[in-house]
């Protein structure tokens, strides 16, 4: 207690220190406006022992005027050259002038050169540049695979319960080099979204990615290959569509020691046009899609963390086409379009395993001469596909908090991720020897926050065409 009193007395009676604090407050305020570099400079000038500050109340003497022979500087000695005592009126006026200048500069830049938006806006984007080569036919070349610009932000932010409204607008171009909307939707949090111990519930309206299964929808932590599985593209699962989707979760498990949240159940139920992206509805029916995922209700340090079992369905109608693309007749003739899928994943860095099985039912017209519904010959194609992927990581890319460090440099956790994937696709299960199998060996190299380099070597065996291919692809995926 005696020491405490001594500390108080020292603090309160030391006028030099009080003045020093006053100056520090002014300087910090100014420095915050001036910029980070100046802030540190101001602080370092003040960060000297009390006794020294007191002694520096005296006019600066030898330190500024005494010549120091070149090469004899002693950096280990405390630098007192900038240690000030009481702030002078001139210094105070100087800080005021600096703040005023900065304010004027900021006003001018806001008016002339700084982009503004009416609501909060976050701009991001990604691009894929690829070199691909295949053995049969023998071809190779560089490819600008895709470019996407995405704009996101809040239209209304609710601090109390997180019932916020946000928007997403994406513009993308693929190998056709046409710029078209990708995502264009509003999202509203129907339920609260701030308490991690309670369930979430959202609704999303507009053009958006379908949420069927794992392969077509998942992020890079669960899908290491350049190309998605065959069934994802063949069954249209990777496609975006226009509609409304309700999704959320139930029974969240929270491990506060890691800010880790995993819901026992995740669900999604959607109603789409079923006609694909950037297209008006071509028929009167709507497609319905559902997905449910059961996650292991485990804490972060549990060996079961990352274990999930999912199931998806998609039921809709598709237009019956005659040979060519003419509808029979416009919008009225429809056939069933059904997909069912199940997936299992265990992704807990550094290990990863995913498996997915999907079946499709597509009702089509096989009468090339049909021009009316009456002479349509309906045939249902049953297709099936599956993938199995194993991967392993060296590095910290997939540890959330390792990616978020306080650092001076542009450090990023360099990570290597080899993987192997087997991809099987049977376009018509009623037909023998028409399957396509692709085995892919790959290696991903993450070396910057938004950039990775991917190498994929695959052996494909298309039994229908009796073509076996060796394919190689190297791709940079970079974003901002």
């Amino acid at each position: 207690m005696i020491i405490f009193k001594k500390f108080e007395i020292n603090s309160s009676k030391d006028k030099g220190n009080i003045m020093s604090n006053r100056k520090l407050t002014i300087l910090v305020l100014g420095a915050l406006l001036i910029g980070h570099t100046n802030l540190l400079a101001a602080e370092s000038a003040e960060a000297v022992p009390q006794e020294q500050q007191v002694s520096d109340k005296q006019p600066q003497q030898a330190s500024d005027s005494t010549a120091v022979p070149f090469g004899s500087e002693d950096l280990s000695a405390t630098d007192t050259s900038e240690a000030g005592g009481a702030v002078t009126q001139a210094e105070l006026d100087g800080v005021r002038a600096e703040i005023a200048t900065l304010r004027d500069q900021l006003t001018q830049r806001l008016d002339k050169t700084i982009a503004n938006s009416k609501r909060s806006l976050s701009i991001s984007g990604s691009t894929q540049t690829r070199y691909a080569a295949s053995s049969s036919p023998n071809k190779n070349g560089f490819l600008f695979n895709s470019a996407i610009i995405s704009l996101k932000g809040f239209l209304k932010k609710d601090y109390v319960e997180g019932k916020s409204i946000s928007y997403t607008l994406g513009l993308g171009s693929n190998t056709s080099y046409n710029l078209q909307p990708t995502d264009a939707y509003l999202q509203y949090s129907i339920g609260q979204s701030l308490d991690i111990g309670k369930p979430y519930l959202y609704v999303q309206i507009g053009q958006q990615k379908k949420q069927f299964g794992l392969e077509a929808t998942t992020t890079e932590d669960k899908q290491p290959a350049i190309n998605t599985a065959q069934f994802a593209s063949k069954l249209g699962l990777s496609q975006r569509d226009i509609g409304i989707r309700l999704y959320g979760d139930l029974f969240p498990v929270v491990d506060l020691g890691y800010n880790y949240r995993i819901p026992l159940i995740e669900y999604s139920l959607a109603l789409y046009n079923g006609s694909g992206p950037n297209t008006a509805d071509t028929n009167l029916d709507k497609d319905i899609e559902g997905r449910i995922v059961i996650n292991a209700p485990a804490g972060y340090y549990s060996p079961y963390r990352g274990l999930a079992l999912g199931g998806s369905f998609y039921r809709g109608k598709q237009d019956l086409y005659k040979v060519g693309t003419t509808l029979i007749p416009n919008g009225e003739g429809e056939g069933e379009k059904i997909r069912y899928g199940t997936d299992l994943s265990y992704v807990s860095a550094p290990l990863g395993f995913t498996a997915e099985y999907v079946i499709g039912r597509d009702e089509k017209n096989i009468n090339p001469f049909a021009t009316t519904l009456a002479n349509v010959t309906r045939y249902t194609t049953k297709s099936a596909g599956y993938t199995v992927t194993f991967f392993y990581e060296w590095g910290e890319q997939f540890y959330k908090n390792s990616r978020s460090q306080s650092r001076n440099d542009d450090w990023w956790p360099t990570t290597f991720q080899p993987f192997i994937r087997y991809d099987h696709w049977d376009p018509d299960t009623a037909v023998a020897n028409n399957e396509s199998n692709i085995t892919t060996l790959g290696f991903n190299f993450f070396f910057a926050e938004t950039t990775k380099f991917q190498l994929n070597y695959s052996l494909s065996d298309d039994k229908a065409t009796k073509v076996k291919q060796n394919n190689f692809a190297a791709q940079f995926q970079f974003g901002f």
């Binding site: 980070h36 701030l194 340090y301 908090n401 460090q405 306080s406 650092r407």
Partner: protein, 344 residues
């Protein structure tokens, strides 16, 4: 030839002995810490001073052991993830972080406190909320970040006035959002550390702070080490702790309090509030006393019991599971600090 064969076991034994000795030292000691508001890779206080002086680097230079420091923006939870992933050996965090981590099976032990003072907690209210006392918090919208020492301390404060977390409308907010929510009347009150710009601006009022009620301060924070490291390198562990204790000795001196404040300012704090917070704490010698006393153990057991009772952790355990007392007493004695921090 026979002599050569007979000598083989001796050569092998020598080789194993040399190899075993080589394994007694790690190539690198990985130390975790919390990030700061300015996103700079630096600590403040006692550990900040140890780092600035390069004491750990000097201590292990002769052994060729490197020191690696990582500052996790996610503070304690970030370090817990790093421990779980085998990325750090030592770390420092607040009371709830280690209690929750250990409850989930994280294999680490506290080997020292980071100062007996703990941290103060402040409750700021919107004047329009009508909150005049802690009991008035019932049914109100209160912003705070779950999983932190603020969460635990706030629970204990509510408990003292006969309320539970279920009787208020808790809003999980990081500090910046909490301040914005309070300013826009989106919440009625927030639980925070010492920084309170809205109070300075007259937008909010300070309802409560633990400078007046120190019994509700957080328990002392901790310095921890993974069990694997401590068991494999007990001597290195003792030397790391010994070096860190020099920082606490330095921090416990009244003449160094100004430097401590300045280092906190460099990490993004407000000078005025940090100084007021420090003055409102225990005297420096007590505030930075790192000793694991029976009171510290009792405090932590109470936290474990309370956190279990309130459902913050799912497993109740004995405090001995969380502490490893092998290292601190010898290190303090070696430095002569056992006569400096005397406990009856």
């Amino acid at each position: 030839m026979k002599k050569w064969i007979k000598a083989l076991p001796i050569v092998a034994l020598l080789f194993i002995t040399v190899a075993a000795q080589a394994e007694e030292k790690p190539k690198v000691i990985r130390i975790g810490g919390g990030g700061n508001a300015l996103n700079l890779p630096q600590a403040s206080g006692a550990i900040g001073w140890v780092n600035e002086q390069g004491l750990l680097e000097k201590e292990f230079a002769k052994d060729g052991i490197k020191i690696e420091r990582t500052y996790y923006k996610a503070m304690g939870p970030g370090q817990n993830e790093a421990i779980a992933s085998g990325l750090v050996d030592f770390g420092s965090a607040g009371d709830l972080v280690t209690v929750v981590g250990r409850a989930g099976g994280l294999p680490y032990k506290i080997i020292s406190t980071s100062g007996a003072g703990g941290s103060n907690i402040y409750i700021q209210v919107n004047p329009a909320s009508g909150i005049k006392s802690l009991k008035d918090l019932k049914g109100k919208r209160i912003g705070y970040l779950k999983g932190t020492y603020l969460h635990l301390a706030f629970n204990r404060i509510l408990d003292a006035v006969g309320l539970t977390e279920k009787e208020i409308r808790g809003v999980n907010l990081v500090n910046a959002d909490a301040q914005a929510a309070l300013a826009t009347n989106s919440v009625d009150a927030i639980v925070s550390s010492s920084d309170r710009p809205l109070v300075d601006q007259g937008v909010a009022k300070l309802l409560f702070d633990t400078r007046k009620y120190p019994q509700f301060k957080s328990a002392p924070g901790s310095i921890f080490v993974t069990e694997a490291f401590a068991n494999k390198y007990p001597e290195i562990t003792r030397r790391v702790l010994k070096t860190l204790l020099k920082g606490y000795y330095w921090a416990s001196k009244p003449e160094n309090q100004e430097a401590i404040i300045q280092s906190s300012v460099k990490n993004g704090g407000t000078y005025k509030h940090i100084k007021a917070d420090l003055i409102g704490s225990l005297p420096p010698k007590e505030n930075y006393d790192p000793t694991v006393t029976t009171k510290v153990l009792k405090d932590y057991q109470e936290i474990i019991d309370f956190a279990f009772k309130r459902g913050i952790i799912r497993r109740r355990y004995n405090v001995s599971e969380l502490f490893d007392l092998r290292f601190q007493a010898p290190a303090l004695k070696e430095l002569g600090y056992d006569k400096y921090w005397v406990h009856n």
